[in-house]
């Protein structure tokens, strides 16, 4: 298992009970979306994976390591977390050094640092900005740089907190493509997001959280098309699902998450009627 949560409870110093007995298992190479309203515990859950937060009750095992016994630096090597506003954490004078920072902290030789930084920048199409200031990049480029920073040391688990916030549709498309590539490389990718359309296109395993508890865990097409579950987690269903729900009386299946599938259904009905 990549990560195991065993009856995890977490209470912030402000007395907010953010996680209430969460038990979950994340398998290697899995793509998982954590969804739920603001304050449902998505970010808190992700922060437990690299040890930034330690459970007050229960335990979290990441790649066989009990997070209570390891430092954040140790856990970060196996589980990289891209923060929601990671682009606000830049401080180096150029993109290369920004990516190299963590690798140097982890003690890699300069030769390895150079190779890994070049590879990560290329993967995220940022290699032409290597000597440029990270502050001068566009919003989408900054987001990709934040991901390149984490990918540079090849953690087996990659956690992305709200990766699509503030991104235009083109950047979202690139982001989707890169997440898929990371996942096909065998990495476990965990996303905390509100973006149902983005999730619907990725088709991950979906975990719905509400008030620090898991309210649903299963296939994307089963959960995001279930009106009751989605309401419980205070999110919306994808627009296509709403449209096809209205057409259910005409024989359409409402469990439609992508446009191609929707078009296929419409064509099927139209052909059937024209015959």
């Amino acid at each position: 298992m990549s990560a195991i949560f065993e009856s995890v409870h977490y209470i912030y110093p402000s007395k907010v009970h953010a996680l209430r007995g969460v038990s979950l298992e994340f398998r290697p190479g899995e793509l998982v979306a954590l969804m739920g309203e603001n304050g449902s515990g998505k970010t808190t859950l992700l922060k437990h994976i690299n040890g930034l937060l330690k459970p007050v009750k229960g335990r979290v095992i990441v790649e066989g390591i009990d997070t209570r016994t390891a430092s954040v630096a140790q856990l970060s090597q196996v589980a990289g977390l891209v923060f929601q506003n990671a682009e606000e954490m830049f401080f180096e004078s150029n993109v290369f050094d920004e990516v190299a920072f963590a690798l140097r902290n982890f003690g890699y030789s300069e030769e390895v640092v150079r190779k890994r930084v070049e590879w990560a920048l290329k993967f995220f199409e940022l290699d032409t900005y290597s000597s440029q200031s990270p502050f001068l990049l566009s919003g989408g480029e900054k987001k990709r740089l934040a991901m390149a920073i984490i990918l540079a040391w090849s953690p087996r688990i990659i956690c992305l907190d709200e990766p699509t916030i503030g991104q235009d549709s083109l950047q979202k498309e690139k982001m989707k493509h890169m997440i898929k590539m990371l996942n096909t490389q065998g990495r476990t990718v965990l996303l905390a997001t509100h973006d149902v359309e983005f999730v619907a296109e990725l088709r991950p395993r979906v975990i719905l959280l509400s008030k620090g508890e898991v309210v649903a865990d299963g296939k994307c097409e089963e959960i995001l098309t279930d009106e009751t579950l989605v309401k419980k987690a205070s999110i919306l269903m994808p627009q296509l699902v709403y449209a096809f729900k209205r057409l259910e009386d005409l024989g359409f299946d409402s469990r439609v998450l992508d446009v191609d599938e929707g078009v296929r259904q419409v064509l099927k009905v139209l052909r059937h009627e024209s015959v």
Binding site: K47, L52, Q77, G80, F91, F101
Partner: protein
């Protein structure tokens, strides 16, 4: 981070909370002046004891303890610097320790007096106080905004710290110089965010016609009650006694002579 806790107002209904903010500010200033003019440990301890009583009556002792706990590294630095500078002038351990202790306690007096003021006074009351002291509104606004944003900054500092720790940064490991260098990845993003936020705030204020009217009016006016005047008179008497003791050279004891028994010259 807990040092900033002492700058955040907490609602309350105690006598101290209800005191006129001008009286509270005057009291804090007088405590500060008394602590500055005296280096006598007995007087400093007396001030600290008086402050503790006021803190207890304002029921903010838990937050005050948090503030003091947050300030302990700063107190330790003051202790070390005072001890070594005094010891280099006069190589007597007991005198050095006496001075170091006095200066550290004096810092606690400063922190406590202003922490008490900020914990029990709303930002609006602070703004009114400054306005009535004829401080231009632009400066009042800047000062009150700084206080309001302190908890936000503390939260932001924690987020930046977490993000850099996730990149393998270990702020509290390694020799002293490395630890100082390790603060750069935390302080640079924080500074950039502060500048960005200040621009955003300035734009938001411009949009809301900040400074359009030369003569500002206030919904609330500060009025001193009998209780306020009584409290101020008591503080003024104590302050006069403190100043007189200094002027007449009646300080009970400069450092701690008893320490000499344990650390003979």
């Amino acid at each position: 981070m807990s040092l900033f806790e002492g700058l955040r107002f907490r609602p309350g209904t105690t006598f101290i909370h209800r005191l006129d903010p001008r009286v509270k500010l005057a009291t804090s200033t007088m405590v500060l002046i008394t602590a500055v003019i005296h280096i006598d440990i007995v007087i400093i301890l007396f001030l600290l004891m008086l402050e503790s009583l006021v803190i207890l009556s304002a029921k903010v002792q838990n937050l005050w303890i948090k503030t003091i706990r947050g300030a302990l590294p700063l107190v330790a630095i003051v202790f070390a610097i005072t001890f070594f500078s005094q010891y280099s002038r006069e190589p007597v351990i007991s005198t050095g320790l006496g001075y170091a202790l006095t200066y550290s306690l004096r810092l606690l007096v400063f922190l406590s007096s202003f922490s008490l003021f900020f914990l029990t006074t709303t930002p609006d009351e602070i703004a009114l106080t400054l306005q009535q002291l004829r401080v231009p509104y632009e400066y009042t606004f800047a000062f009150v905004s700084a206080i309001r944003f302190t908890p936000v900054m503390a939260e932001e500092l924690q987020i930046v710290l977490d993000a850099q720790r996730a990149r393998g940064l270990e702020v509290d490991k390694g020799p002293f110089t490395k630890r100082i260098r390790n603060l750069i990845p935390v302080l640079v993003p924080l500074l950039v965010n502060v500048i960005r936020r200040s621009y955003e705030l300035a734009e938001a204020m411009e949009v809301k016609c900040f400074g359009a009217s030369r003569k500002r009016t206030s919904l609330k006016q500060l009025n001193m009650s009998r209780k306020d005047i009584f409290f101020l008179v008591v503080v003024l008497i104590l302050f006069s006694v403190g100043v007189s003791v200094k002027l007449l050279g009646l300080e009970p004891v400069k450092t701690l002579p008893l320490l000499g028994q344990f650390f003979p010259a």
